[in-house]
């Protein structure tokens, strides 16, 4: 009986190790600001005397059938590769219906609404871990028409371009724009997926690249230059040491550091961590929780608050919750 139980446990552990998977980033196709402004899908407002244009995605998706065709084609091709995308139009609709529901809902006992801070409100936007930014222009020379197509994969947290495919299609006398667009998508998609795969392979080898910010509350009496421990190291150096010990190959860059804040870019966090003997997928929230707990303990005893943005961005506020 003991042997059977041991075998069962061994199999369970093996399965867990084999099938443990990294957190899958979400991807969404979004028309570029350039495309939206060129095609006049914009909202304009006066920001203290400066005219600001912001893209009106809802109008673009409702009125431009070429855009819908390209998004649909891209979604289809990515799904065929086993990587279904978030559909922007559906996300925008969900956000609207969620907002309406949140506004109407009240608790049974006291009739209270759902709690929502201004930050919660700000976070209610269409988002994805990787944005596929789409731009195309129609070139005309006499009766000939061609399409210049540009597809960029942008990491939402590091702001890096992680994938790309761009080029100009074959000029045609007779083909309709939609046919040329379809051809452009088909001809560029493999190159886009290849560069995206290179990004994922780099992630597997060197860890996920994320961004971490450290800030302090206004009313906290200490700051990042306060000295702690027997060696009297400044808090900023202690945080850097923790990052060096816990990132993949100690890889991170300190972009900014003052007594009030620190910004870390190109922080490579491992894809997995172990908990209760099981391998689990890591994200920035889980990673930064380690630093948060470290700072809460002796000799620092710093109460702190962690906020995150998707898989790849986290902020710790020091000196309170």
């Amino acid at each position: 009986m003991r042997k059977i139980i041991a075998l069962f446990c061994f199999t369970l552990i093996c399965c867990n190790l084999v099938f443990s998977q990294a957190k899958k980033p979400t991807i969404m196709v979004v028309p570029s600001d350039n495309w939206c402004i060129t095609n006049n899908y914009v909202m304009e407002f006066d920001n203290q005397g400066t005219l600001v244009k912001i893209p009106n995605y809802k109008q673009a998706l409702q009125e431009n059938s070429e855009l819908l065709l390209v998004i649909s084609k891209l979604n289809g091709l990515m799904a065929e590769r086993g990587f279904p995308l978030k559909n922007m139009e559906s996300v925008l609709k969900s956000l609207e219906s969620d907002s309406a529901e949140d506004a109407m809902i009240s608790s049974k006992d006291m009739g209270m609404g759902a709690a929502e801070s201004p930050v919660d409100m700000l976070k209610k936007v269409a988002k994805a871990d990787i944005i596929m930014q789409l731009t195309w222009t129609i070139n005309k020379r006499g009766p000939k028409k061609s399409i210049t197509f540009n597809l960029q994969g942008l990491d939402s947290y590091t702001n890096k371009q992680v994938a790309t495919a761009a080029g100009t299609g074959t000029p045609s006398f007779s083909a309709e724009t939609v046919v040329l667009l379809e051809e452009a998508v088909l001809s560029h998609m493999d190159n886009f997926c290849n560069t995206l795969m290179t990004h994922f392979e780099d992630m597997a080898a060197n860890g996920r690249e994320v961004m971490i910010r450290i800030k302090k509350w206004d009313d906290w009496e200490s700051d990042l230059e306060t000295e702690f421990g027997p060696d009297g190291d400044e808090l900023s150096l202690i945080i850097e040491d923790w990052l060096a010990d816990n990132t993949v190959n100690g890889r991170y860059n300190t972009t900014d550091a003052t007594e009030n804040m620190m910004n870390f870019e190109q922080v490579r966090i491992p894809l997995y961590y172990e908990r209760k003997g099981r391998k689990r997928a890591m994200d920035t929230r889980r990673f930064i929780r380690g630093l948060s707990n470290y700072l809460k303990k002796e000799p620092f005893n710093i109460v702190n608050k962690v906020t995150t943005k998707g898989l790849g961005r986290a902020t710790i506020y020091l000196g309170g919750k």
């Binding site: 990294a22 493999d190 190159n191 290849n194």
Partner: protein, 179 residues
Amino acid sequence: MKYFKILGVVIITVLMCFPTSTEAQSKRRARKKANIATAQWRYEIEGVGTGREGTYLLKVWSYSKRPDVAIEQAKKNAVHGVIFKGFVGSKQGVSTQKPLVKSLNAEKEHEQFFKDFFANGGAYMRYVSTTADGAVAAGDRMKISKKEYKVGVVVSVRKDELRKALEQAGIVKGLSSMF
């Protein structure tokens, strides 16, 4: 007399068979040479258009002393090229593509798989077809030496299915394989 009659029939039969057997042997030899040329990357491949969804439209230039063998070999070369070589778009609008397999040693690492895959009549045939029934344009059949032709054939390679097959065999990683 009867003995001579039988001998005569045998000789005539052998003589009738001989040219056929020489023809078959010559073709077999040419095919063998063409296979060696494929393994030595002796072929050229270029993208000539955007194919239907999931396909590449390619022109493959193969070498052989027999034009018919070169045309046959074009299919094998096309699949071989898509897997190991990649290709350059020959005109505006046709994008250059990298090979499906990234590792330089993939052919050696999976030697048995590719040996079976590229055997005559092997699984590669599933992923390729000639366009225009393999008809060769007038300028695409060139005699480059006394004993050799260079033949350009346009073929269509079902790259999505080919990639899936390689993913299943564990040779190529899928986009979502690590998630």
